[in-house]
């Protein structure tokens, strides 16, 4: 095999030593689950309000900051979690009251830019209150790893996988079985039709933002337990964007599968190609992968087909 093919096939050749390959693959998949957790929040808000919520990443940071902050103050963990959930709900109400209701009927691009503003405000606001040092977040997730068939797996990553599965199940039940869930889907389908059958848009928005705030809290807890709560968390959360466009903006399964593909692809590329080009290609690989993918399928894997009419 020539040098060229060795380079091109590098991510596959990792599996020559299959244990190492499996370790890389599994850690990639589980990192992908973490991305999916962040992406879920995006999808919820996009489905319900057509708003591309750029602030979701910062919401993750904000939730984690609050939780870590309360625990740091000596509040017992269950109470701290409840308090943080309370803050996220309060935040949803404030956002609806101060921002969303004033931006009804604006173009999507305006809404998007408003969430960029929100992201800037929120990240600085959280750090002004809780300080910008790196905080440890320990909510009792077991540390360490175990080794089935000689493959090392972190407990934390396994927990994240389980939590993600539970979260998706709960969300699926919430969306399909409860009255609020059905109202949410109605709003996602057609704002005006939803209004005409008596669904209160504002309440729905508050609920959606609160739910995605809580999803952000879950994601933030997982990320925080993995790498500490710090500002760079919001940049890691940016990785949820390629996940989103890969999976499609409107699809919850898309967010999960997109996350798995991105996580796996990124890890394999880093281990396979990284050494050839100086490393750290994780920084951009996900974006390029998503971009190339988009050229062939502009609506993502599970997104609704984009139909344009004049």
């Amino acid at each position: 095999m020539g040098e060229f093919w060795e380079f091109v096939l590098a991510p596959v050749l990792i599996f020559e030593s299959w244990r190492f390959g499996m370790e890389v693959a599994i850690s990639g998949l589980l990192a992908g689950v973490m991305y999916s957790l962040v992406a879920l929040g995006f999808v919820l808000i996009y489905k319900a309000s057509g708003m591309f919520n750029f602030a979701q990443g910062v919401l993750v940071l904000f939730a984690a900051l609050n939780l870590a902050g309360f625990i740091g103050l000596g509040v017992p963990i269950p109470l701290a979690i409840l308090l943080t959930i309370g803050i996220m709900i309060l935040f949803a109400i404030v956002v609806e009251y101060l921002i969303l209701r004033h931006l009804v009927n604006q173009e999507q691009i305006i809404l998007f830019m408003a969430t960029i503003g929100l992201a800037f405000f929120l990240s600085a606001f959280g750090e002004t209150i809780w300080g910008s040092d790196v905080k440890k977040l320990d909510v009792g997730i077991p540390q360490g790893r175990f080794e089935p068939f000689g493959i090392q797996i972190q407990y934390l990553e396994l927990t994240a996988g389980a939590v993600a599965a539970a979260l998706v199940t709960v969300l699926a039940i919430f969306f399909s079985k409860t009255k609020i869930g059905r109202a949410l889907r109605a709003v996602a389908d057609d704002h005006q039709a939803a209004l005409s059958v008596g669904i209160n848009l504002r309440t729905i928005w508050i609920i959606v933002w609160a739910v995605s705030g809580i999803v952000a809290l879950v994601a933030g807890t997982m990320w925080g337990a993995k790498s500490g709560v710090q500002f760079s968390l919001s940049e890691i959360a940016l990785k949820a964007l390629p996940v989103l466009i890969l999976g499609g903006f409107e699809s919850i399964p898309g967010a999960i599968i997109g996350g798995l593909i991105i996580g796996l692809g990124e890890k394999l590329a880093e281990v396979g190609w990284g050494p050839y080009v100086g490393g750290a290609i994780e920084d951009w690989f996900a974006y390029i992968l998503a971009m190339v993918f988009l050229v062939f399928r502009p609506q993502g894997l599970f997104g609704e087909k984009i139909i344009e009419r004049v």
Partner: protein, 410 residues
């Protein structure tokens, strides 16, 4: 009272299509240019000569405020063409500025590449070999940087035909992260120095020292000449004014109208005979051209030396986007207003917050100032989008409308 169209008739097509319909507007522009080109440099010079201002204050004004303002205006112009006129959201502005800066650097050192060979003792010897003669004309460098960045911009704009809206915004993030990664990993770009820092070599224009310093023999003594802040300021100002003029004429002509048609509804634009791919790619090319020039100006005139991954990170992209939003999407004047606003607010905060804290006995350190800056930026963006989605430019326009009717608004 003074701002009226009364008595001004458009008696020819040329007059009817003038950039400034009102004589007062035209005089206003000449007035601003007069102040920028003559009153500011001469006034500051006289103030320093008269002992009313320290020379260091003057240099601070030029080097830290005016030059930054001009660089940011250029970048905002570029992004406004793409986002404001053609409707393609880009989050990769800073990366394109970076391409400009690195191009300027490579051409100013003659596109060095490294050859390595083993000498007689078997040790590895590296040698930098220039490919072209080094260019020492700053304006030429800025233009070359613009052209190269335009090519890179077109490459990253190619997916825009298939990808639209938010999907495109995320795709431009690919440009941002990939290019910034190149700035710290591709050794050729920064001439193989270990710190990945680029520094502009001494440049001259019309015999004037622009960067670095020059030692000349004068009356038998060696005298070191440092670049005057005025020189940099005037070169930058000329570039910005010249290209703002070009941008203004582009957006009000056939090209600009095609961009706006694509922005407002691309399918309808296609139906009336506008080629979407060519139009969008042209917008990407022109926008990147401006951003590349801004980056080159930032390296040559403003910073002198920089580290690519740090100077052109994603926050820089956002700050240019903010300039465009606050200034006004789809407005050349707005680009300048927004750039001024976003550039001056941090400077104002850095000065005023510690003072304010001192009044209440609260210690204010740099981190707090930065947090406040972010919070104020974020809040301002939201407030502007709610109150006036078209930004400062629209406020300026409303102000002019009011002025026309003043003092009898009926």
């Amino acid at each position: 009272m003074f701002y009226r169209e009364a008595g001004q008739f458009y008696t020819s097509y040329a007059k009817d299509q003038g950039i400034f319909q009102l004589r007062q507007d035209k005089y206003g522009l000449w007035g601003i240019l007069f102040i920028a080109f003559i009153v500011v440099p001469v006034g500051l010079y006289l103030l320093v000569q008269g002992g009313l201002m320290a020379a260091s204050t003057k240099d601070y004004l030029y080097n830290s405020i005016f030059l930054l303002l001009l660089v940011n205006s250029m970048a905002a112009l570029g992004l406004n063409i793409l986002t404001g006129y053609c409707g393609q959201i880009s989050l990769g502005t800073a990366a394109f500025m970076g391409v400009g800066a690195f191009t300027a650097f490579k051409f100013s050192t003659g596109l060095n590449y490294r050859i390595q060979h083993e000498d007689d003792a078997g040790e590895l010897v590296s040698q930098l070999v220039p490919l072209l003669p080094a260019i020492d004309n700053p304006i030429l460098l800025v233009l070359i940087a613009g052209f190269v960045t335009a090519i890179v911009g077109v490459i990253f704009g190619l997916p825009s035909l298939r990808i639209k809206g938010f999907y495109l915004a995320v795709a431009t993030l690919a440009a941002q992260f990939f290019l910034v990664w190149c700035f710290s990993r591709v050794e050729w770009l920064y001439d193989y120095v270990s710190s990945s820092t680029i520094q502009i070599p001494p440049l001259k224009l019309f015999g004037l020292v622009v960067t670095g310093s020059e030692t000349v023999m004068r009356d038998g003594q060696a005298v070191t000449i440092y670049p005057a802040a005025e020189t940099k300021y005037l070169i930058c100002l000329s570039l910005v004014v010249f290209f703002a003029f070009i941008a203004k004429n582009m957006v009000r002509g056939r090209i600009g109208r095609a961009w706006m048609a694509i922005r407002d509804m691309d399918i309808a634009a296609q139906l009336i005979g506008i080629r979407p791919l060519a139009t969008k790619l042209l917008a990407f090319a022109v926008s990147s051209f401006f951003c590349g020039m801004a980056g080159a100006m930032s390296l040559i005139f403003y910073l002198g030396a920089l580290e690519g991954a740090e100077a052109f990170n994603i926050n820089e992209s956002f700050s240019v986007l903010f300039m465009v939003i606050i200034g006004g999407l789809g407005s050349i004047t707005g680009s300048f207003l927004g750039a001024a606003f976003i550039t001056l607010i941090p400077i104002f905060l850095v000065v005023s917050l510690p003072w304010l804290g001192g009044q209440f006995g609260i210690p204010v350190d740099a981190a707090v100032v930065e947090h406040f800056q972010f919070m104020i930026f974020g809040a301002l963006i939201i407030i502007f989008l709610i109150m006036e989605p078209l930004g400062l430019a629209r406020l300026w326009q409303i102000g002019k409308e009011r002025l026309r009717q003043w003092p009898f608004p009926y």
